[in-house]
């Protein structure tokens, strides 16, 4: 039971990060039906920028929370700019091209971003300065750290904020209209190009915060950290039904929990034949299983086929 609770807490933490990243994928997909393949790199850049700022400020003796806040505040605009650039360079010129063309140009962008990051931040693993004192709290037989609590709270706040934005504001209405039918939205006076750019930028802002959270959770940043994280988050978005905001949140949390519980129990269940090194398999196995039985994801509607 203790293991269960502990893995549940770890899974929820990781899952809320996945969920925030997944939102970026699902928003872009919902509006232009394309996978933003470079989204994981945006998360990585967010972590890297925050790392630089936090390392620079750490010896200054500021309160830790303020330092992290400044780090995030620097990471967000940088990532927003990158998100905007991605849309303008890799996606907008290819909006009417065959479907795979933007995928390839996004892969190109992600290669460029990764190697630029490597130029700036070296190919080493960068250790985040441990400025926040990890205060373990005991819940039942498990421990939960202040960082974990902070990650979960931040994620929930951001998801709530995004939901408000999408469902309660004029901008959100325009986004949903564009997602449903670009041509009609344009006729109703929606500046479709601007809305699509804004969608990329909002996704990138979420990714920046997610990057800071991952960086401070694991205490490490690396120029390749975006790939696997992006992959998992994209799986989470598909799991929940891509293009569907609540689906991305559900998928992210679910994926995190499944992964953590799988890693915690696989040894016991298989008589130590398989260990926690199979952790990454669970995410994909669950994904495949869910899609086989629910081809549009958990909360996805049956959308029209487009090849």
């Amino acid at each position: 039971m203790d293991i269960f609770l502990q893995q549940l807490i770890n899974g929820l933490t990781l899952g809320s990060v996945y969920a925030v990243v997944a939102l970026g994928y699902t928003m872009v997909y919902g509006i232009i039906q394309l996978i933003n393949f470079a989204h994981g790199e945006v998360v990585m850049i967010g972590a890297m920028v925050a790392f630089s700022v936090i390392s620079a400020l750490a010896p200054g003796g500021w309160p830790p929370l303020a330092i992290v806040a400044v780090g995030t505040a620097c990471a967000v605009p940088v990532c927003m700019a990158i998100g905007y650039g991605l849309e303008r360079i890799a996606y907008r010129p290819l909006r009417h091209a065959p479907r795979l063309a933007p995928l390839i140009s996004a892969i190109g962008m992600s290669i460029i971003l990764q190697h630029l990051a490597m130029l700036v931040w070296s190919r080493n693993f960068l250790a985040f300065p441990q400025i926040i004192k990890v205060e373990p709290m005991h819940v039942g037989g498990a421990t939960i750290t202040s960082v974990q609590v902070a990650i979960m709270l931040t994620s929930v706040t951001m998801m709530a904020g995004l939901a408000l934005l999408v469902y309660r504001t004029r901008l959100g209405t325009a986004m949903r209209a564009t997602a449903q039918n670009q041509a009609v939205a344009r006729l109703m006076g929606v500046d479709v190009n601007r809305i699509i750019a804004v969608t990329f930028v909002i996704g990138a802002a979420l990714a920046a915060v997610a990057g800071v959270m991952v960086g401070s959770y694991y205490g490490i940043a690396h120029y390749q950290m975006g790939s696997l994280l992006g992959l998992k988050a994209f799986s989470a978005a598909v799991l929940g039904g891509i293009g569907n905001l609540p689906g991305a949140m559900l998928g992210g949390v679910l994926l995190g929990v499944v992964e953590a519980l799988g890693a915690g129990y696989v040894g016991d269940l298989t008589g130590n034949w398989f260990g926690s090194n199979y952790q990454d398999v669970f995410a994909f196995l669950v994904l495949i299983a869910v899609l086989v039985f629910r081809p549009s994801g958990l909360l996805g509607e049956r959308v029209g086929d487009r090849a």
């Binding site: 997909y29 063309a101 390839i104 992600s110 190697h115 398999v281 495949i288 899609l291 081809p295």
Partner: protein, 351 residues
């Protein structure tokens, strides 16, 4: 078939070039022959994936898994790891067959998924295969984990060893040159098969499914079976290429079968012009040779310009590569040599 004289001249010219090529390359260094061999392996992979992506329109982002299956079948059955040394003409088809089986296993439950869902499932499948290869070293050592399998047998036919250099008819046939001819023969075979496939009943069925699945079904095409066939066929080509990779390289590890490799092959297919066999070949050759050319030019150019190496060549190479992907897609979104159907689609969309 009757060719006019100029066509024959062209064919003879191309054939002569292809036959003489390894000796010219060997002049520049054996490394270039090896690079060419790997380029041919990528051509094989790209042609295999083209059946799935280009002909049938199914996006497969985990294609390298089939390559891995073929490579590991060969490595396990022809290396000191299990002390098995079966002949290559037996295990090469076995690898292709097992890859085909994996293709069917993956395809059967997932082919009803469309587009991006299928893409992510295949991607997940590729990762699962890689993780298993990486970890199946305990409790029973099957794949030897991240260390990989070394000292894999080369191809041998009787006393003819493909890895050993020898003089034949006064010419210096090094190991890589022998493999070059073998790969060239296999590649030509695969090209013939795919071109014939494309113009066959099956090829037309694939095209119909790709363009409009509902209409294809209404025309009496068993869409599930025809998609599964594409998957299985693509997979077995991948398995075949994997087996050859194993033998040529002599060493394999899970490192060689990472997601980036899958994406690379997809990039070759799309960049060249998916659905068009010649475009795909061009894409594969470009994406294998350009990074290598850059490897040899980036450093001297920097030295000439700034007097020293400012940026690691590897980084510049990848930056230029990424930029090339973006730019080519920007200006030739249907690929460098688009297939006729794609061209038609593009112009229709802009009417």
């Amino acid at each position: 078939m009757r060719f006019k004289a100029p066509v024959w001249v062209g064919i003879v010219f191309v054939a002569a070039t292809l036959l003489a090529l390894p000796f010219a390359l060997a002049h520049a260094g054996t490394a270039w022959v090896r690079i060419t061999n790997f380029a041919l392996l990528y051509v094989l992979l790209a042609l295999g994936l083209n059946i799935v992506v280009g002909f049938a329109g199914l996006l497969d982002l985990g294609y390298i898994a089939f390559y891995a299956v073929g490579a590991y079948v060969y490595a396990l059955l022809a290396s000191p790891h299990f002390n098995l040394h079966l002949p290559f003409w037996l295990i090469l088809p076995a690898g292709a067959l097992l890859a085909c089986l994996f293709g069917v296993l993956l395809g059967a439950p997932t082919l009803k998924l469309r587009g991006d869902y299928l893409a992510i499932v295949t991607l997940g499948f590729g990762e699962i295969i890689r993780i298993f290869l990486n970890n199946l070293s305990r409790p029973v050592n099957i794949t030897n984990g991240p260390q990989g399998i070394a000292r894999i047998d080369p191809f041998t036919l009787g006393s003819f060893d493909f890895s050993r250099g020898e003089k034949i008819a006064g010419l210096d046939f090094s190991g890589p040159i022998k493999y070059y001819y073998l790969l060239l023969a296999v590649t030509l075979g695969v090209i013939v098969v795919t071109v014939r496939l494309q113009n066959s009943r099956i090829g037309r069925a694939w095209e119909a499914v790709r363009e409009d699945e509902v209409a294809a079904r209404a025309m009496g095409i068993n869409t599930t079976a025809i998609k599964l066939l594409a998957f299985a066929m693509g997979a077995s080509f991948g398995g075949l290429a994997g087996g050859m990779f194993s033998a040529i390289q002599g060493f394999i590890s899970p490192e060689s079968f990472v997601l980036v490799e899958s994406i690379m092959v997809v990039a070759m297919v799309v960049l060249g012009g998916m659905g068009n066999v010649w475009g795909v070949i061009l894409g594969a050759l470009l994406l294998s040779f350009v990074p290598e050319l850059l490897r040899y030019t980036v450093e001297p150019v920097q030295k000439a310009l700034f007097g020293r190496t400012l940026v690691e060549p590897e980084v510049i190479r990848m930056l230029i590569f990424g930029l090339a992907l973006v730019l080519i897609m920007r200006f030739r979104p249907a690929g460098l040599l688009p297939s006729k159907v794609r061209k038609r689609e593009l112009s229709e969309r802009h009417r």
